[in-house]
């Protein structure tokens, strides 16, 4: 599975490497303070001149291993717009605990300014740092540097110690401003084996080495005879090997934001360390993750996952009632899915692990995604249908490039029926089997079998967001068009319609249509299957278009698609680096029958065209044909895939440019 993604990432890779530099805190050169623009990128509002990160382990006898992260950054402010970088925030995990939490200490921070020939230093005071509780589980420490002006250099260092030594946070290697030099070194005792995973568009070669580490300890033992108790202290030490991985990078460019990107952080360069196993002296190996199988198994073995699939008693009655009289497996699946979707209410939390636990969630009729979907898996299995959970990384969580437990944040259900796999997510009131909420449509998921074995599964939807609009309309002599419009929404088209408009008052919805289209009035609105989830939604209404036909002299000009023509292309940028993400395949179909006013005949009409994107990824068809009383127009845009890599951007841009041009062509009528 991950191969495809990695290739994509490597398309534009540039190799970064650099020489080690050591910069002492406080030694800032006048020359650097004088600099007014960043040489490698004159648009940079600020740049990191130096960044050093050290991640290592420390053994504290009373506490055991602690994970330490030392940060030292020096940032140059070129323009006011860069002053945001004078404020630093660090998120610290507290886990809701008073004692076992991450702590920040040793903060030292100075702003340097050039004052005449002299370097003026302003120190950050202790009272100028702030801690806020973001949630039960996270605190945030923030500080802002004093005395910052254009030209200032700020420098700070601090360290974070964490008792959660099996988790090394992602180390970001690319900022929204350039980094001139950075040196990131991670030293890990042989007892912990991590696999470093690199993501992003920049490539670099970590330098591997080893060194010796030592833990000193003291043992207290009590002993002695019948009358006296003596305490003896023994000191000793253990030496071990530390595996060191060092990344040195120079001139790292700023990460530039682009529109229509699902999640920009997917493309930010970073290293992730995922724990593979722990082998402490005199203890057996404790294995974590080495590959997708291990990831799946670890997750499955959690109490909040696999065990939740075994509990079944709580839903017995509801399930029996729901499946009573179901004749086929397919019918059973639909009925069980309906049961869970209708009974359960999503509490807005994602999660691959249950929050309340399936039983409690069932009783309270509310829960997180795992509560809901693991319950669904259990019910399906209980009803004799082979069903398994599928781990997913949601769109806003990014792409799971490497085997990590943290890479997945969501779970859906799958079922096997007649050799086909059906995917299900009952956390949305308008979802259907094989029609998942769009948040879950992200690359590849991991299906976990009962034995813990896992198989990758494609999470990109094959179902389109389809809309068909059919209008029959008459043009009157004053240019007004009276017509009857019928709209059909299917697949994701219907899903999105329901999510956006199900609770909306009809009057305000109609006002919405009118405002979207311009000088249009809607009457006699009716809708079918609004809540009939399996069916297409059909709308029908009378429409009066006031201002879209020009009657000038003995000619009439109009765009035969009226307000339905796409006014501008969504792709205006000259180039892009990141994929274009449409979420799902889609199709927009327009079929208009237009009757001309009495006494006018067709002078010219747009020519028929048909053009495609490379490899059948999309197609546009436009046909205008004369009828006895007027014209029949058909315009079909069909995009067959959800994601287009940046390499196909030029083709996509050209496709939409031509499409917009065509959809805006006019019809000319002449008075007979």
């Amino acid at each position: 599975m991950p191969q495809k993604i990695i290739t994509l990432c490597l398309l534009f890779s540039i190799i970064f490497h650099g020489q080690a530099q050591d910069v002492k805190f406080g030694k800032v050169s006048e020359e650097a303070l004088r600099e007014t623009t960043y040489p490698a990128d004159s648009t940079a509002a600020a740049a990191v001149l130096y960044r050093k990160v050290r991640v290592y382990y420390q053994y504290v006898q009373s506490q055991g291993f602690q994970l330490k992260t030392e940060v030292h950054e020096r940032i140059k402010m070129y323009k006011k717009e860069g002053f945001d970088y004078a404020t630093k925030t660090e998120k610290l995990y507290t886990g809701g605990s008073k004692s076992d939490k991450e702590r920040l200490s040793g903060l030292k921070a100075v702003t340097y300014n050039l004052k005449g020939p002299r370097v003026e230093e302003t120190k950050l005071k202790g009272s100028q740092t702030f801690t806020k509780e973001l949630s039960k589980y996270y605190d945030e420490i923030s500080f802002t540097m004093p005395n910052v002006t254009e030209g200032s250099i700020i420098e700070y260092m601090y360290n974070i110690s964490s008792p959660y030594y099996t988790t090394i946070d992602e180390i970001v290697l690319q900022y929204d401003i350039p980094i001139k030099y950075q040196n990131v070194m991670v030293s890990i005792p042989e007892y912990f084996v991590f696999a470093p995973k690199i993501k992003g568009y920049l490539t670099f070669q970590p330098q591997k080495s080893t060194k010796q580490g030592r833990i000193n300890y003291q043992n207290k033992s009590r002993g002695g005879g019948n009358l006296t108790v003596t305490t003896t202290y023994q000191t000793g030490s253990v030496s071990f090997t530390e595996n060191v991985s060092e990344v040195i990078m120079e001139n790292v460019p700023a990460l530039v934001q682009e529109p229509y990107v699902n999640n920009m952080d997917n493309y930010r360069s970073a290293v992730n360390y995922e724990l593979q196993y722990v082998k402490l002296p005199n203890s057996p190996i404790e294995s974590y993750t080495t590959n997708w199988q291990e990831v799946a198994k670890k997750i499955y073995d959690s109490d909040n996952f696999g065990r939740q699939l075994e509990q079944r008693r709580y839903f017995k009655d509801a399930l029996a009632q729901a499946t009573q009289g179901a004749t086929s497996e397919k019918e059973k699946i639909f009925r069980i899915f309906d049961l869970v979707r209708n009974h359960m209410n999503w509490n807005s939390y994602y999660g691959k692990y249950t929050d309340l636990g399936v039983k409690k969630a069932f009783n309270e009729k509310a829960g997180n995604v795992a509560d809901i979907n693991l319950m669904l898996v259990a019910m399906l299995n209980e009803a004799g249908i082979t069903s398994n959970p599928v781990l997913v990384s949601t769109r806003d969580n990014g792409v799971p490039l490497f085997p990590t437990r943290e890479g997945f944040n969501y779970v859906v259900a799958s079922a096997k029926v007649g050799g086909q796999t059906v995917l299900m997510d009952a956390s949305n009131k308008f979802a259907l089997p094989n029609l998942l909420p769009t948040r879950a449509l992200n690359w590849t998921g991991l299906l976990i079998g009962e034995d813990g074995m896992s198989t990758p599964i494609n999470m990109q939807s094959q179902i389109s967001a389809a809309t068909t609009k059919q209008m029959i309309g008459d043009i009157s002599l004053d240019g007004t068009v009276n017509g009857q419009m019928r709209t059909t929404y299917s697949g994701y088209g219907a899903y999105m319609f329901r999510n956006n408009h199900f609770d909306q008052e009809e009057a305000s919805y109609i006002e919405g249509i009118e405002n979207e289209m311009g000088a249009v009035e809607v009457d006699g609105y009716s809708i079918e299957h609004k809540g009939d989830l399996g069916k297409d939604i059909r709308e029908s209404y009378k429409i009066t278009i006031a201002d879209m036909v020009d009657v000038i002299g003995d000619k009439i000009y109009f765009n035969p698609l009226f307000f339905e023509s796409q006014g501008e292309s969504p792709f205006k940028l000259d180039e892009r680096k990141y994929p274009v993400d449409f979420v799902t395949p889609w199709e927009d179909k327009l079929q208009f029958m237009i009757k001309f006013p009495e006494g006018y005949s067709l002078e010219s009409k747009p020519e028929n065209v048909k053009f495609s994107l490379p490899n059948g990824a999309g197609q546009f068809t436009y046909m205008a044909s004369e009828t006895a009383t007027g014209l029949q127009i058909m315009s079909v845009v069909k995009i067959n895939q959800a994601i287009f890599p940046a390499t196909q951007y030029a083709a996509l841009k050209e496709f939409f440019k031509k499409l917009v041009e065509k959809q805006n062509e006019k019809v000319v009528l002449t008075k007979m």
């Binding site: 302003t122 910052v148 020009d550 205006k572 440019k657 000319v668």
Partner: protein, 636 residues
């Protein structure tokens, strides 16, 4: 007997009322129509037994009718170091009125409540997470809190929000006679609100207010919905005693307690700035140098702790760290001005671009009516000069739409007073476009556009200069989104901060400007001065509307036509004039190859009744239509 019977009926009614508070099925349709939620019963009780104690007891029962109403449940409360939440709980009832869930204090989530613009604030929030399992449902929320600050009582708004109806809303204040109470009722007309005044006691009760939907261009809810402004006359706040009721005295109090001696500066800084203005006599010229110094050397960072919520950090501290919030930066600028002999005043204002929020002249109270601080420099016989001290880019003397045209509270050693900030008249908010472009025989447009922006239009555009090139380009691609295939070849800017004028010069190319159909070209001669705003259509407009700021657009566009084409149709000239403004467009042809478009749009600021909404909408619609009008060219 008759009395007994009456009592009996009353008794039954009360009983029934209590039960029906929670069930959702029998709410009259006058309250559910157009509503997402119904406030069944909201009850706020404030008790001020002495000047250093304020107790609040609050209960709210809301029926949530649909998903969109969930945010109206309002199951949260803020608190801080001076305010303790003594009790807090919530219950959920199903549509029949059966209790389905109870929450106690430990179920509430307790975290820092730092608003987006602040680095730090000491306020906290207690809130509840609840996933509704069916609609409608009813949620009951109550808490009791106590505070030793008595300066502020939240105003009473019996209309909570759009699409929220009110069955019953009660507001009571009990206060020690020596504390006293200021009250002002606003927009009560037409609402069923009962008022009861006793000795050291006041009670307001509103009943049966239907839901109202939000409409485009409608004046802000807080400007027309009923509101009770209320405040203790004497108060205690973070160690200070004070009294409300009179602007002059309040200003003096603020000056003495919160500002005096906050404006001391380090000797070195004083010397430095005195040196900077050496030889300059004109106080305005001096002020310009100081303002420029502040803009170049400080930045806006908001940190709100304790008394810091209303008292500026000292000028000395700002001088040391070079940042501050609006209070700190304004006070710092004031201190610097003072050091060079230019007197200035600290001014509290309610800021925001959406509408002009006045401080109510008839309600002299200390907190609750302002959220920002600006500075003015009084001038003999002329309007004062206004300075926004939190911006590093605003021109000297320019306020923009954040604080323009509203009543503000000026604080000085002489006391306080209400004055008005300057407004930008219709013609001052002006955009002038001058463009030359050529259409080729293959439909390609090339040319150059020059724009000058003034007044609020200046405010809206000038920051583009500092943006990245890609962002500048995409701004124009959006701005002229009707031009298919638009490419920006170059941009150039000029910023005359003295005159408050911003200049843009953009070279453009569009491969597909002409819409080609057969042997015809359809081209809008007005390529770069199209206005696209059409107010939303409402089948039945319910609220009046307001054009908060007027503006003017003036354009001269010169287009060169391609060879080998005849003009088949020309757009018509249009002139429209009404109370809303003026629109004129004319097409001149100095020769058969050139068209000059002269266009002017003036929209006047004003308030209008709902009956005239469609007329205004029609006006803007006609403008849009005319701006897009096409020229038809036929290939010879």
């Amino acid at each position: 007997m008759r009395i007994l019977l009456l009592l009996l009926i009353l008794g039954i009614q009360t009983l029934k009322a209590q039960n029906t508070d929670y069930q959702a099925l029998l709410i009259p349709s006058s309250l559910t129509d157009g509503a997402n939620s119904v406030v069944r019963h909201e009850h706020t009780k404030i008790d001020i037994p002495n000047i250093k104690e304020l107790n609040t007891s609050y209960r709210k029962v809301v029926t949530i009718l649909n998903k969109k109403g969930n945010s109206d449940a309002g199951v949260y409360t803020y608190y801080d170091n001076s305010e303790k939440i003594r009790k807090i709980s919530a219950n959920v009832y199903d549509k029949m009125g059966n209790k389905v869930k109870s929450f106690k204090k430990s179920d509430f989530i307790d975290v820092s409540a730092v608003s987006g613009f602040s680095l730090y604030e000491d306020s906290r929030i207690l809130y509840l997470e609840y996933t509704p399992i069916d609609y409608p449902y009813t949620i009951e929320f109550s808490y009791e809190s106590t505070s030793d600050n008595t300066a502020y009582i939240p105003f009473w708004y019996p209309v909570n929000d759009y699409r929220v109806s009110t069955q019953k809303n009660v507001f009571e204040v009990q206060y020690a006679p020596d504390v006293g109470l200021l009250e002002k009722q606003l927009n009560f007309e037409g609402y069923d609100i009962k008022v009861d005044h006793g000795d050291g006691y006041v009670r307001y009760e509103a009943e049966n207010i239907g839901a109202i939907a939000q409409e485009e261009l409608a004046p802000a809810l807080r400007l027309w919905a009923p509101r009770l402004m209320v405040s203790p006359k004497k108060f205690y706040y973070e160690g200070y005693m004070g009294s409300n009721g009179e602007w002059n005295a309040l200003g003096k109090w603020m000056y003495v307690n919160l500002l005096r001696e906050r404006d001391e500066l380090p000797e070195a800084t004083v010397r430095k700035i005195q040196y900077m203005v050496k030889g300059i006599e004109d106080p305005i010229e001096k002020a310009k140098i100081i303002y420029d110094y502040v803009q170049k050397n400080t930045r806006y960072i908001s940190i709100q702790e304790g008394i810091g919520g209303i008292q500026p950090i000292s000028a000395k501290d700002v001088d040391g760290v070079k940042y501050g919030d609006c209070k700190g930066l304004t006070n710092y600028t004031k201190a610097l001005l003072g050091a060079v002999g230019v007197p200035s005043n600290y001014v509290r204002v309610y800021a925001g671009p959406e509408y002009h929020a006045d401080i109510d002249e008839d309600f002299p109270s200390f907190l609750g009516q302002s959220n920002h601080v600006i500075l003015n420099i009084p001038q003999e016989g002329k309007d004062p000069i206004w300075l926004e001290c939190t911006s590093q880019t605003m021109p000297f003397g320019f306020l923009g739409d954040f604080t323009d045209n509203r009543n503000v509270f000026e604080v000085s050693a002489n006391g306080g007073r209400i004055i008005k900030t300057p407004s930008y008249s219709d013609g001052q908010n002006k955009k002038m476009v001058n463009a030359h472009y050529e259409l080729s025989s293959s439909g390609i447009l090339t040319g150059e556009v020059k724009r000058t922006s003034m007044g609020i239009d200046y405010d809206n555009i000038y920051s583009i200069e500092k943006e990245k090139k890609e962002d500048q380009h995409s701004y124009y691609k959006r701005e002229w989104g009707h031009i298919n295939g638009l490419e920006i070849e170059s941009v150039q800017y000029g910023n005359d901060r003295g005159k408050v004028q911003f200049f843009e010069e953009i070279k453009v190319k569009a491969d597909n400007y002409a819409n080609k159909s057969g042997n015809r070209f359809f081209v809008a001669p007005n390529a770069f001065a199209q206005n696209t705003f059409v107010p939303k259509r409402y089948r039945e407009r319910k609220l009046p509307f307001e054009i908060v700021r007027g503006f003017e657009e003036e354009a001269t566009l010169n287009m060169t036509l391609p060879d080998g084409f005849d003009i088949e149709a020309m757009p018509r000239p249009v002139t429209m004039e009404s109370e809303f403004g003026l629109y004129e467009v004319a097409y001149d042809m100095p020769d058969e190859k050139h068209i000059t478009v002269r266009r002017r749009l003036l929209v006047k600021k004003g308030k209008y009744p709902k009956e005239r909404y469609n007329e205004y909408r029609k006006f803007r619609q006609e403008v849009v239509k005319s701006d897009q009008a096409k020229l038809v060219l036929v290939r010879i």
